[in-house]
Symmetry: D2
Subunit: 138 residues, 4 copies
């Protein structure tokens, strides 16, 4: 377990992943002491669920939840935290220019960590919630 | 509730979604009577989790699970089946040229349906399992 | 959808269920406006996971999560809310004289509702978290 | 990691847990090579969800899923396998004289294992499905 990572270091990690870079994931806020991290994801044309192109498909939302949950632990622990499993619940259709994922670490144990993620649209509506379990052994 | 959809109709629905089309999701097998559907997803450069580019990021795998689960019900019911929630468990690193998602409907009730999805790599290794709950009211 | 239920009405519903009564579930706090409900469950001898009898088995904790999630919606909606699915994550061994389950409704939609449940021991440690999806049609 | 456990050894472990013993959980079938285990749970008066007493409450069903999933790994690995998290989906009202839980190990990794559990009533109807993640380090 290393030192907590700051915003710039986390952004470099995100940009080092072709998938996260393609999704234009950006670190918006970090609070290692509270175990809180916020990522944003813009509405890219390829994220549209239907031909109208006004709503996010659930797939990119799940990917955002997965990554925000993982990175909240990476931030705190200063090491990788592979996703073991996660759950996504979709609460409302998600449109707008971008989504924000607020992740909060509920528990960082020796073997696994558990993180909650709330996903908000650009009008601050809660559109989805996620909960994941990640490996925490160095 | 309409008539079951065949492979060509399901592929048209997939292609009508910018996200599913961008992920090059393809219908590989359908069995409406058994509630079984197989989708494939190739390894696109943007799906790589790290710079080496040899492994799928968990995000596209979750999107594949979500879509395969939904489409198994769409196939059976001949109508939309919006994702309410799903769980993804990652069992092994996932590489290779493509992934196959085998979805099977466990229950198609009046309000919700439950679908299991096994994800295999091109060497037939089980790399992830998913389980989702979808709305089934017309 | 009826009027919100108060603490006494919810306790009567709990006591009308042989299972909830046997578990000695008790309503501790209600806040229909905020969608918040707290239930307690004492450590009964039959809840012990091992012969030492100092820790709750995960089974009763799951049952507590399920019931607290369901009853948070029952409180708000004034009607039944059958469990469709839920997830339990165990964060720490759970001992002590009783557990408190703090449930909060994240979304009460026309078809389903989603509720989060935090489970605390009598020293106010977070021992488990739950998230459930419940039917909300009258 | 020890030698696989047989039916009698698993039953002794179940009976050593006050909770499992109170629920009268019984080992019905074991297949360590295939990672398959079947437990049964009778309909006890305290398991009833409502005053009529004809249906199992979801709580005991969740406890059955949790225990069957855990014990499938215990059987294979010959060691403890604490529950990290699990999901229960309820498919139909569950009545009858007993429930059977068929657990199958999907993956037994070095850190965690994933197990699926199907729950059938005494008329062989699928009433619930579960999926859990358990610690596998000795």
């Amino acid at each position: 377990m290393g030192a907590p990572l700051d915003s710039a270091a986390l952004q470099r990690l995100l940009d080092g992943s072709p998938f996260s870079r393609a999704c234009k994931l950006a670190v918006r806020a970090v609070d290692p002491e509270q175990g809180k991290l916020t990522l944003s994801m813009p509405f890219l044309p390829n994220f549209a669920r239907d031909a109208e192109g006004t709503q996010f498909h659930g797939g990119p939302i799940a990917a955002l939840i997965d990554t925000a949950g993982c990175f909240a632990l990476v931030m705190q622990l200063g090491q990788g935290a592979p996703t073991l499993n996660f759950r996504s619940d979709y609460l409302r259709p998600a449109g707008g220019a971008l989504l924000l994922a607020n992740a909060v670490v509920r528990r960082a144990g020796r073997t696994v960590g558990v993180v909650d993620v709330d996903v908000l649209d650009d009008a601050d509506r809660l559109v989805a919630v996620g909960r994941g379990c990640f490996g925490t052994r160095a």
